[in-house]
């Protein structure tokens, strides 16, 4: 018997195929160098945008992952917009707004003539339908729910005028109205179930959803007759581009290669190793630090290890932030100096609490009763100092960053296991508490993000015990005076970090690379993008 001839050939071919698939994805540099003045915008064309992950949903109110926000942001308009330079709130769908003295009731006046792409008018009734529905959303809707926390009712004062009332002061609500999370959907979409909305949404934005294939692509088409863009945008009327084609390409090397070969026009989430080749190929790198909570570790304090303050503090002293940032992230990234990143309003640096000090980490653990074991890992009462960090695959830098953190912590006698989970499962993991420590960040251009994440009166994902932090967080949410609010937010950051409720490591910096012939891609205040003004230069 000799049935092995073809089999060995198959084995050789399979070996070669593994090598090829594994190593495929390099590309030739084909695009020409960026020209000087771009000239007048040219209408038409399709912009192909490669992103790394898919949140499994196209409903702006239920999406929290930047990769998917890039596309769904274009589907909806918001009541207001926020100036990325000044943080000032400016008109968009709402022409004007006022609040009562303690910021518990907000009255908006809408601009006339706005319609959804299904033809229904965008009026006060439609906004009411949206806001009434938000509190009923599931865990995917945590963002808009937190913006509307304490929501009581929306009363329609006239066809284009309405008042939103809250149970208590809600200062952050105004910034919330500028985000994609409170983007206005058609009343029919708002009434549909959570899952139906994830597959199909109708908004009033400059683009409409053409098709969505999960884990493959999100295709948008220009909305004809669009004439109600934000006051911050450059031109009036319809968008320049005819179509937006968002491709999901998980490999950062393949994304970079696709841009270099001209197969796509823009890519998200570039790795540090791709910076130089992309620039050499003439691509433009657009970077902006994300406001909100910086990338870091937060412990589940319902677990024994997470509840031990010595462990949390030692972890913070044992992490060498500058080393992580320089080894893993793009050159524009900065080490975290507080729980909030430096582009967030009211960011207060806490450098004294966030240094790297191996000796201090060791003495904190010694004092906490954790003695070094034979293999270098510390233990207390027979329990090894080992925990698992859960992370999502939504940024290519997550795994290398955590591997380096793991190495740094091991030097301090702390053992860490890493567990990667799909980004689509993250909300469920947070809700259920099935984690020991999470590697996470949260983008929001308002310091109230601290309250929504860490207040024990809300979702309290990290199971913090109630304490003085709650009062500070509630206080800033009610502080109508900007100076008072800034002071309270500063105290809250200090309180949170001196308890080591969170261990910030690096500020997420969104770095997009766009081809030399693409112009007008602009960041909003939350470091997400608007593609209304974007256009492609024809060759």
């Amino acid at each position: 018997m000799r049935p092995f001839g073809p089999r060995s050939v198959a084995a050789v071919l399979a070996a070669a195929a593994l090598l090829l698939t594994a190593c495929g994805g390099g590309g030739d540099a084909a695009t020409s160098a960026a020209g000087g003045d771009a000239g007048a915008p040219q209408p038409g064309g399709t912009l192909t945008f490669a992103v790394g992950s898919d949140a499994g949903c196209v409903d702006p109110q239920q999406v929290a992952s930047n990769d998917t926000i890039y596309s769904v942001r274009q589907l909806v308009d918001s009541l207001t917009d926020q100036d990325p330079d000044t943080g000032e709130i400016t008109p968009w769908l709402a022409e004007s707004w006022t609040s009562n003295a303690d910021a518990s009731a907000w009255t908006f006046t809408l601009r006339p003539g706005v319609t959804f792409s299904d033809g229904t008018p965008l009026d006060a009734q439609a906004v009411k339908a949206n806001f009434d529905r938000v509190p009923q959303l599931g865990v995917r809707g945590n963002l808009p729910k937190s913006y509307l926390s304490g929501y009581q009712a929306t009363t329609v004062d006239g066809p284009l005028q309405f008042t939103v009332t809250f149970g208590g002061p809600n200062v952050q609500f105004l910034q919330g109205t500028s985000t994609h999370s409170l983007g206005i959907l058609s009343p029919a979409t708002a009434a549909a179930s959570d899952d139906e909305r994830c597959a199909q949404v109708v908004g009033s934005g400059p683009f409409v959803l053409d098709s969505y294939t999960p884990n493959s692509s999100i295709v948008l088409a220009k909305r004809p007759g669009y004439a109600w863009g934000s006051s911050l945008w450059e031109h009036k009327g319809e968008a320049h581009l005819d179509r937006l084609d968002f491709q999901i390409v998980p490999e950062s090397g393949v994304r970079a290669g696709s841009l270099q070969s001209g197969e796509v026009d823009a890519i998200g989430n570039i790795g540090p190793q791709d910076e130089a080749p992309l620039q050499a190929a003439g691509a433009q790198l657009l970077a902006r630090a994300n406001p909100g909570i910086a990338f870091g570790l937060a412990f589940n304090q319902a677990r024994p290890l997470g509840a031990d303050p010595a462990v949390r503090e030692a972890v913070s002293w044992a992490i060498n932030r500058p080393e992580v940032v320089s080894a893993v992230y793009t050159s524009q990234t900065k080490p975290a100096t507080s729980v909030l990143s430096s582009t967030t309003p009211d960011h207060a640096p806490q450098d004294a609490l966030l240094g790297f000090d191996a000796a201090k980490a060791a003495s904190v653990l010694d004092a906490g009763g954790w003695a070094a074991g034979p293999d270098g890992i510390r233990a207390k009462g027979g329990q090894r100092l080992t925990f698992e960090i859960t992370y999502a695959n939504n940024a290519a830098s997550n795994k290398p960053a955590l591997e380096l953190v793991q190495q740094q912590l091991r030097a301090a006698g702390i053992e860490v296991a890493l567990a990667e989970r799909p980004i689509a499962d993250f909300a469920t993991i947070q809700q259920s508490g099935e984690f020991e420590a999470l590697w996470f960040n949260l983008t929001r251009a308002d310091p109230d993000v601290l309250r929504t994440t860490f207040s024990t009166k809300l979702a309290n994902v990290y199971r913090l015990p109630p304490g003085p932090l709650d009062d500070l967080l509630d206080g800033q949410a009610a502080a109508v005076d900007p100076a008072t609010r800034s002071d309270l937010v500063g105290q809250a950051q200090q309180q949170l970090l001196s308890d080591y409720g969170v261990v910030p490591v690096a500020e997420l910096t969104t770095t997009l690379a766009v081809g030399a012939d693409v112009h007008g891609v602009r960041y909003d205040a939350s470091s997400r993008i608007h593609l209304f003004d974007a256009w492609k230069q024809s060759a």
């Binding site: 060995s8 593994l18 594994a22 893993v328």
Partner: protein, 302 residues
């Protein structure tokens, strides 16, 4: 007495095919030397396999450094005298990681082949020996297994079992059991009809005794050769699955995982992905070459 007699008869065909005459020691040595000299590929393959086995059992001998400890300042350095395979994105020495990863990859492979051999062998033996409806039922089951692409079947099993090296090994083992079952069945059917087995049955040997004593030893040889060949394929299957992220969690240096880690750096640092990839390829090819030699090349070489 009768049993003893049958045993002798049973043993004869095997000994006859393997070494009909004993050669003097010197002649055999000279022949072995000539055999090796004319086959440099086989010698090289054996060397590769020896190195891989040493890496698996005593990685410290070949690479004394710590595979998990990186020096970020030395990241992404090209292969050099200091770092034979270069360094990865955290400044970890790739050669050290590949050597230390051999144990993980090989462990999974050995378990996978063992599972496939035992499971497939038993199914084949039972089907071939009992025949009739048992044969029909088992072979239709094997047909189903063969109809599903092995990698897809492994993926489905892992989804059910969960991640990890052992689960990968089980999944690959179950997915490749069907080919063992087929070969074992055909060999069993051949041996079952031979005179000495029929004689044993006719004098009243119980069926399980004749199965264990007469059928299994004579039918197992081709299956064992197949196991060596499957070893190469299993290295590949295990690596593919850990490439896809189903293996041990980072930072453990499994071969497939190493290739996966390097894929984002291919345009700028080719060695991060190429060196572990070449190691996998070399191992698979070496094992293939050796299994070809085992499949009678020595006997034919005369």
């Amino acid at each position: 007495m009768t049993e003893l007699l049958i045993h002798e008869t049973a043993a004869r065909p095997t000994t006859a095919t393997v070494s009909p005459t004993r050669e003097p020691r010197a002649v055999r040595l000279r022949r072995a030397g000539r055999f090796a000299l004319t086959r440099p590929g086989l010698v090289l393959s054996s060397l590769v396999v020896v190195l891989v086995v040493v890496s698996a059992f005593a990685p410290g001998l070949l690479a004394p450094a710590d595979p998990l400890l990186g020096v970020p300042a030395d990241k992404l350095q090209a292969p050099s005298a200091a770092h034979w395979f270069g360094t990865d994105y955290l400044g970890r020495d790739l050669y050290t990681r590949v050597v230390h990863g051999a144990a993980l990859s090989l462990q999974a492979t050995v378990i996978a082949v063992a599972v496939a051999l035992v499971l497939g062998g038993l199914i084949g033996l039972l089907a071939g020996f009992v025949g009739r409806w048992v044969d029909e039922a088992l072979m239709r089951f094997v047909d189903v297994l063969l109809a599903i692409p092995p990698l897809l079947l492994s993926l489905a099993l892992i989804t059910a079992l969960g991640y990890g090296t052992l689960n990968i090994a089980l999944a690959v083992g179950v997915a490749s059991a069907s080919s063992f079952a087929r070969v074992m069945r055909s060999e069993t059917m051949r041996v079952r009809r031979s005179t000495y087995v029929e004689a044993a049955r006719s004098v009243g040997t119980r069926w399980w005794v004749s199965l264990a004593r007469h059928v299994l030893p004579n039918a197992a040889r081709p299956v064992l050769v197949l196991a060596v060949l499957e070893f190469g394929l299993a290295v590949l299957a295990v690596s593919s699955l850990s490439f896809l992220g189903y293996g041990v969690p980072p930072p453990a240096p499994e071969w497939g995982g190493l290739v996966a880690e390097g894929r984002n750096y291919l345009a700028t640092s080719w060695w991060v992905c190429t060196m572990p990839g070449l190691t996998i390829a070399a191992t698979v090819l070496a094992v293939n070459r050796i299994s070809r030699a085992l499949d009678g090349e020595w006997g034919r070489s005369r």
